[in-house]
Amino acid sequence: MGDTKISPHSLAELKNTTDDALGNYLRGLKFEQDNTKLDVRLAIGYASVVIAAATFAADYKLGWEATKTWTAVAVVAYALLNGAFTYWMWAVEKGCVFDGVREGKKISVASKTKKHDPTYYLTVSSANSGSKQITAPFTTWFTADGYFVAKPFQQWLASSVEAIGNADSKNALRDERDEIASPSPEVELTPQGNGTAEASGTDGKAKGSKRSKRKG
C-alpha cells in the first residue's frame, strides 16, 4: 500500500485504515476471504435502490395518478428492505472486517472502537479456539503524523492470534514467546581450581559450576 497519510485525530480514519490493512494482510497470508455477509448487504441495498429507481421512472413517464397504487406498494417494499438492510448491518455483520478460511480452519474478525478512545478492539473467533478479544492502541502502528506502519501491526496480530501466527511465523515472534515462557538454562562450567588445599583454611572445595543465563 502506498504511503497514504491520514489524520491521526480522526478515530474513523484510524479504524478504517487499520481494517483495510488487516484485510490486505490476511489475504496476503493466503486466507481465502468469504464475502457472503457483504454480498448479502449489497444485494439488499441495491434491490431497494432498484425499486426506488423503478418508481422514479414510472412516475416520470406515467405521472402521479396512474402510478399511485404502484408507488404505495413500492414505498412499503422499500421501507421493509431498508429495515432488513439496517438489521443486517447491526445484527449480523456487527463490525465484521474479515471472514475467511485457511487450510480448512475458519477465522472471523470483527473490529470496533469506542468514542474518544484511541484503541483498536478486535474480536477474533477461530474454529478451534473460540472467541477472543485483543486490543492495542492505534499508536502501536501509526506514526504521530498519521502514517501507517505495517510491521508492528502484523507482529501484534501474528503474536496475539494463533491462527495468524501459524500462517506468518516470521512476525509471530515465536522464539521470543517461548523464551519468556520457559527460559532455557545455559550452564557454564568455569574451569575448576587445582583442588589442592590451601593453607588459609578454606574448605578446599573447588569452586563449583556457575549457573548463568547466556543472553541469546
Partner: protein, 174 residues
C-alpha cells in the same frame, strides 16, 4: 483524496456507491411516501408569487392535504392550470356541486383584483376538485422554500449541490 478510493477493493467501492445511492433513493421514497399519505402529487409546495399576500409570501413552504373531499369556501387550495405545470396557490371563493355531484371551485388570489377565470385554461371557467386540485393547505413554514426558488432560477446550483453531496458521501467512510 481520491487515492483513498483507489485503494479499495471492488466490493468496498460498490458499498460506498451504495451509500450515496441510498441517500438519494431514501430521500425520494420519503417524498413519495408523503405523497401517498396525503394523496397529493406534490405534498409540499413553495409559494412562487405574491398573489396571496399578506397571508403567504414568496418563498413560504406549504404543506398540503388532499383527502378532504368537501372543500369549503375560504379554504386555500393549490391547483395546476390544465396544460401547465405551475402550481397556483389561491383561495376558494365559490363552490358548485359537492356531495354526489362532482365538486367545482372558483378561486381568487387575496392580493389579486380579479378572480382566476383569466388564469384557467381556455374554455375552462372553474376547477374540478378531483382533477385539477393538488390539495388544500393545512400548514406552512415561512421563507424556508426560498432555496427552491433559487434552485429553479439558477439551475447550475442543483448540479453543484448534487455533486458536492456525492463527493462527501462517497469519500466519507464513517
Amino acid at each position: 483524496m481520491f487515492s483513498a478510493l483507489g485503494n479499495l477493493q471492488p466490493r468496498q467501492l460498490a458499498a460506498q456507491i451504495l451509500n450515496f445511492a441510498l441517500v438519494l433513493s431514501t430521500a425520494f421514497m420519503l417524498w413519495k411516501g408523503l405523497s401517498v399519505f396525503t394523496n397529493s402529487s406534490s405534498p409540499i409546495v413553495v409559494v412562487l408569487s405574491g398573489s396571496m399576500e399578506p397571508a403567504f409570501q414568496r418563498g413560504d413552504l406549504l404543506f398540503l392535504w388532499n383527502r378532504g373531499k368537501e372543500t369549503q369556501v375560504g379554504e386555500i387550495v393549490v391547483y395546476n392550470v390544465r396544460g401547465k405545470d405551475i402550481p397556483i396557490v389561491h383561495r376558494v371563493i365559490r363552490r358548485f356541486g359537492g356531495g354526489s355531484a362532482p365538486l367545482q371551485l372558483l378561486t381568487k388570489g387575496d392580493n389579486n383584483a380579479a378572480d382566476d377565470t383569466e388564469l384557467y385554461a381556455r374554455g375552462q371557467s372553474y376547477l374540478d376538485r378531483s382533477k385539477d386540485v393538488i390539495g388544500s393547505v393545512v400548514g406552512y413554514v415561512p421563507f424556508v422554500g426560498y432555496v427552491t426558488i433559487l434552485l429553479s432560477e439558477y439551475p447550475w446550483l442543483k448540479t453543484a449541490m448534487l455533486g458536492f453531496m456525492a463527493l462527501t458521501v462517497v469519500l466519507q467512510r464513517e
